[in-house]
Assembly symmetry: D2
């Protein structure tokens, strides 16, 4: 498996999305939130950020979109940087086999979510984080802005409000976790923080840059410091591989073969350890909630660049 | 099966609780709410109210206690009187096979609670009632006071607050129901009403009187009117038989053989259709949440009076 | 609730099935076994056997049909007569809330079936019986013949073979029970016995007579002996009330209000404790597996005769 | 991530098992089969087979042991070589989230096993294979012998018989699959073949060699042919990563970071795509059924050689 020179990356990106035209018109943008449903379904952007500090982009790579569940990696990383493996006494590290917002699994396993990328797990992570940050939203935003080297990242007020208005199932999950003693803060405070995280708007370029620390053993992409340790970066990457794409992790491991995390806003980030981080965005989702053009683009990219781990 | 003359009833009651002394010290009062945990576990009261209008009592039959889930029969009756069978489009009529506060069943059955006596079902009933009553709490209280012919019935403020403070699982259930579209009002409004119902304090005598309408084809015990129709009374009685005592309905059907409804405050009501209504109270609960001395007392009463339906 | 004189019974039966004509053409005969699917769906029979020893019949009351799950009451009665309450260490007495052939419940409850009327429970009962009978099939047949006072009762060879050929789910259940240690005999021996029981052919009159012991405190209908004790008869009746009609026990308790047991052959038996036993048969089943005309006929009978327990 | 020269491999292996002494005495050999329980728990062997055709060994690498679930990769590979992706209409490719022998998942998903590495999935694969091989056991054995270049590989008669004697849960699974129509052959024929596969005895060296085709894009280790296509090899590797180690795939992805498949005989195989295949064996299992010393040895090997994919 010979790797193509970096100069090839721009060429590969340039062929997208033409190379994957048949992946469009197959899915539907998320419609549970008006702000997501209104996005033009034909948008497509992609960005790559290498460990050498070079960025490559294609299409709408600078367009802001709602990161949704991709935020779960930021909160997990921040929590792990504070607490280390202790976090995993409150949330597991195994695939769930049930849908991302299932309550049944919690019932059978006494309030311990299967992993930090299902909603229940991310809500526990948000609760854990509240113990370590003084101004949660501000600190979280600063963390993400620092990783992206972009102070123009904001949260989307209308998305945030919609999350609240449509968030009954997450409210159910949070109260259920509370009933098991696995939330320490007030449910409303935890959800306020959790929904805030989901409603950040970022571009493919922002996300590709922000995730680069996972491609370079935890080192910050723009500062001379570590975001997480080398081992912690590996923990996060392995969780993305086994649990990062909802109930479709098996298909992603096969077709893409990289640690990935997706969001219902249509974004997907992927990590090539030691080499680069990637973000693709296109709003049309498949039945499992992952961007169909995005998945296809990653598959194409991996095939052309020879970068699958398998 | 010859029935003993009514004059025998007082004699049977007089033998209680001596006849069931070995049923004490076997269980524990409910402890999830301080107000319940503080009750003297040795209290025992019983009352019978016949369709002829006679009342018989034993022990602490005039002592007020927290009716808890027994309130579910009042709210169901009130809802049925307004909506009839239409209510059962939103809540089922079958035993659940899972614990009274389970969320899993809802997940597999798309937000339709199995019956109105599990918490999820009673929350749906509370929501349905809100459509028909202008001053929910006041109207509910008036309804119960009228059935008991006792204007000194009140709700217990400390119990009500405790329900709220410890009500995360019910909050989870309510939000989950809302996410399926099976609550029409705001979750907090529904829960406020639901917790209010649970926190009423009544005596055995109050409850025996209040339930008499179910022993006399729906006719009000003290007014010349019907609370529910004859068929509706039968619906409620049959639900009490199959679903009225949490996950122990099978044992109750065998040992008591009457429609019953229990509450974790230690109260149990039972109906002998066409004859009388009964209420027993004693705080020590068994593993399934039913009063152990209460269950034993009903078994003794049925045996002595010859009133099982089987 | 005044009871009509027994002489009325024949008059009520005579009005059936005309009184329930609109209950036909609503369902489907069982089709998983050819022998069941081939039965004329318009057949209807009914029989009543009173504790005074009188029998009343209507329609095809002497026509033989496949008793299927109704046999579960015979095997339960026989097992209880040998073992008493000890049997209930291996099988529960509560409604299951899941379908009659579910395996999931067993998984969560470590191989203890919820009650003896779901298939898993009946298979455990068959296994338990094998410890007490020397010639299982012969002894079982003799027991049923004795209860019916009819030596012409036989099992149906073609039904028996079909049960085996289509019995994968029951084979799965039996092996699963075995894996939990809740079967003591070879799976094939237990299933051979279990399928045999299900494949008995009997008429409404046979069944009404055979079930009379449950209406008369366990006393044999034709011999001066007890089939089961008074308390055991009550246990069986209460189980029929809460668990006897698959996932429709709640509806039966409401519409019929009597202990019932149904089979997918279209038969339903019902008990009026202290008075009589009833059997109705008509092959068209509703969605839950109970005969629709049969259920309606029982409802009509109860209404006309004033015999509901509620 | 610099890779150590191949000459380093022998040095790393030489340090094992001394480097992992504290991983012993923590677990228990499998005890459901006498033949497994009798193995000396202190045995430890490891073998590496590189794509250059070099083999490296340590400890008891030539000792035969029961491969158990490792056989699932052989049958999957053989089935895929015959049917390709068509196989995945009958078995999924996603982690199950439930234990390896769960029946509940099948109930909720209508008889489609979640993946080919849980027992239900492997039984479906065995059934599918029966359509393509004329002498199933012989062909399977020849396939494995060819991959290992060792004609002395045999199945263990006593293990095979024990599998049958203790195989009630697998028999339950097979019958359940049959009831959903997801087995085409007789249950006994499928299980006979499935248990045969599990009861093969092989050494670490045999397995390391036999799995080398998955490290070299599907090419046979000893013949000028393809076992499976490049894409099929990737499918198998990705399934091993997400589902290969029972309910511990998440921990393996983190600690080992390679596609792995384990068996309760204490063996674990791992693939480093493009480089080598590895097999380690030691009988003491952890709570999830994976060899504790084996898992630790792989972690050590990956750390020393720099070969994690993350």
């Amino acid at each position: 498996m010979e790797y193509k020179p970096v100069s090839e990356l721009q060429r590969i990106l340039a062929c997208l999305p033409e190379a994957i035209t048949d992946a469009f018109n197959q899915g539907q943008p998320a419609n549970y939130i008006p702000a997501l449903a209104e996005v033009d379904p034909k948008r497509f952007g992609m960005a790559v950020s290498t460990v050498d500090g070079e960025d490559f982009t294609a299409g709408d790579a600078r367009e802001m979109f709602s990161i949704q569940s991709i935020s779960k990696v930021f909160s997990l990383s921040l929590a792990i940087s504070h607490m280390g493996e202790e976090l995993f006494q409150r949330v597991g590290v195994e695939p769930s086999g049930t849908s991302f917002n299932s309550l049944s699994q919690l019932e059978y396993e006494n309030g311990i979510p299967r992993n930090p990328f299902i909603n229940a797990g991310a809500i526990v992570v948000a609760d854990a984080l509240l113990e370590y940050v003084s101004s949660p939203k501000q600190d979280f935003l600063s963390f993400v802005r620092g990783l992206s080297d972009n102070i123009d990242i904001h949260y989307d007020e209308s998305v945030f409000r919609s999350e609240f208005d449509n968030g009954q199932r997450n409210t159910a999950l949070a109260n259920y976790l509370k009933s098991f003693g696995n939330l320490k803060n007030h449910v409303s405070r935890v959800l306020d923080f959790y929904f805030y995280q989901c409603s950040l708007s970022m571009s493919c370029l922002d996300l590709a840059r922000a995730f680069r620390f996972l491609a370079q053993d935890g080192r910050h992409p723009f500062r001379n410091e570590s975001v997480v340790s080398r081992l912690q970066a590996r923990r996060i990457n392995s969780l993305m591989m086994t649990c990062g794409t909802y109930d479709e992790a098996g298909e992603f491991a096969f077709h893409v073969g990289l640690p990935c995390k997706s969001g219902v806003g249509g974004g997907i980030v992927a990590i090539i350890p030691g080499k680069m981080s990637i973000c693709v965005w296109s709003p049309e989702l498949g039945a499992k909630g992952n961007s169909l053009p995005g998945m296809r683009a990653l598959e194409y990219f991996v095939k052309q660049s020879g970068h699958s781990v398998f």
